[in-house]
Symmetry: C2
Subunit: 280 residues, 2 copies
DNA sequence: TCTTCCATGTCGAGG
DNA sequence: CCTCGACGTGGAAGA
């Protein structure tokens, strides 16, 4: 049995169900009317309402309402879950130390309590991160600029580690700062700190270039870069190539993407592709 | 009926169930063996495994494994959900534009499909934020330093808005930067940018003090502050008072907290307080 | 452990 | 819309 569900259980039945799930290291969900209290790095209170609580065997707990991607309350992995019945309510408690934190959920009514047997060995494969961008540049430095030669990654400086440190065609030191998405002034400031640090390190008479690499840049950042004598190179972290730009600062490219509507309609099973808007 | 659950439904039954939930703006969950593909700001692939998918009426979708607080895949609010049956699999798709993104979940087996009627009007009340810290200081400026007088919050400068701008007992301008938790060098840099900006604004001969306020500070940040001639004041955002420190950098305070074990045992209902470790 | 920094960050406020 | 900064950020990698 991969799922074991109680419908409108008594608190005591839900309690037994949950405790066996904790014991067996299984994931479970509880839906019903509850209040939530949290105390730890901050403190919060949530009045009565219907929520979905997810308890994971790694010690994490999520309290979800019907809005937002972020849970209204939670606890990260490493906590210890416990359950009890007190004053006619089902209490789910999750605690940890370092920092000392406690999350309490009190259910006055439990509509559903499910336990799931999870079998999942697959790992997520993701591309398009800053690390990918770095690999693109190291594999083919000329995409940054003809004659650029990377010398070191994560090079330490007074201002922190420099993403890529290298030299241009003329042997001038270059600080490269990478961002996987559109950058604002803060990235320019960060780059300036690195360049300043190398200035101090090398001596004021040695020139040091600073290059910010990202798919795009805000106007404010552009002007700050200009003021600071820094440079910008537009590169897409996924492809390692200059991103498609239409006329102006607008980054919305209207590339027509109509895959998935290819053939395929001769399959065995009947097809049904009805939609319903859920973005009220 | 607040919860409507299908146990091991056919894909077609699950499809109908989901579409009526989308139509009615209700939250739902699907558990079963699936694969996930994402393409948008980045690109990802996830091979077959058992996961819990949560679809919210605001357009968000979460794909949870039995580990981590963060979903293995997701889409933020504002997306449009749709479902279909193709090639013998249940496909749940969530799309949005700006940025153009798509998340596909293909179920080869559905163990459970639930629809929840959510009634939740309560708002979360949280204390201990940076805003709380600001209120503490504005209400009682002497906790920062005797004679400190706040003049302006969010004061604009070349380097951005300054949390609190004021004067010390001698009438010297003071820039106050607030952080709700332990700060590193980046906060010190930020403060320096503000102080520099006011220097340029006031003229180089006018002294400007910079004060970083947080519950604690890293060593690297301390040395940076020293180099830059900036100051640090330790304050807890929750209480507005100097945080408890034991001997050294260690921030773990062993305050004994034994509430909840008070009386209360004379209640009507039987008590049951069994625990089970879930932090495997 | 503690520190540092990236993230498909998410979220809210303000222009 | 875009832009900016806080967050109980979470998570991973390095010291």
């Amino acid at each position: 049995m991969t799922v074991n569900t109680l419908h409108r259980p008594t608190h005591r039945d839900a309690l037994v169900h949950l405790e066996s799930a904790f014991e067996d290291g299984e994931m479970c969900t509880v839906f019903g009317r509850c209040t939530v209290e949290y105390d730890g790095r901050a403190t919060s209170e949530l009045g009565p309402g219907d929520r979905l609580v997810i308890l994971k065997p790694d010690g994490s707990i999520l309290v979800h309402t019907d809005e937002k991607r972020t849970p209204v309350n939670w606890q990260p992995p490493g906590c210890t879950h416990s359950a009890s019945v007190r004053d006619g309510r089902l209490r789910i408690r999750s605690t940890r130390s370092n920092p000392d934190e406690r999350l309490d959920v009190h259910f006055e009514r439990v509509d559903q309590c499910s336990v799931y047997r999870v079998n999942d060995r697959s790992d997520l494969e993701l591309t398009g991160s800053e690390e990918d961008l770095r690999q693109h540049i190291l594999a083919n430095p000329s995409i940054l600029e003809a004659g650029f030669e990377p010398l070191e990654t994560e090079r330490q400086s007074d201002a922190g580690p420099i993403d890529i440190f290298g030299e241009d065609a003329d042997g001038v030191p270059v600080v490269v700062e990478l961002k996987r998405r559109r950058v604002g002034p803060s990235a320019a400031s960060q780059l300036r700190r690195y360049v300043d640090a190398l200035h101090r390190e090398f001596g004021d008479d040695e020139r040091v270039r600073g290059v910010l690499v990202a798919p795009s840049v805000t106007e404010r950042a552009t002007s700050l870069l200009e003021r600071e004598g820094l440079e910008f190179v537009a590169l897409d972290p996924e492809t390692g190539e200059p991103p498609v730009e239409d006329d102006e600062g607008n980054e919305n490219d209207a590339a027509d993407e109509n895959d998935e509507n290819d053939a395929g309609e001769g399959g065995e099973d009947g097809e049904s592709d009805e939609k319903a808007a859920s973005d009220a």
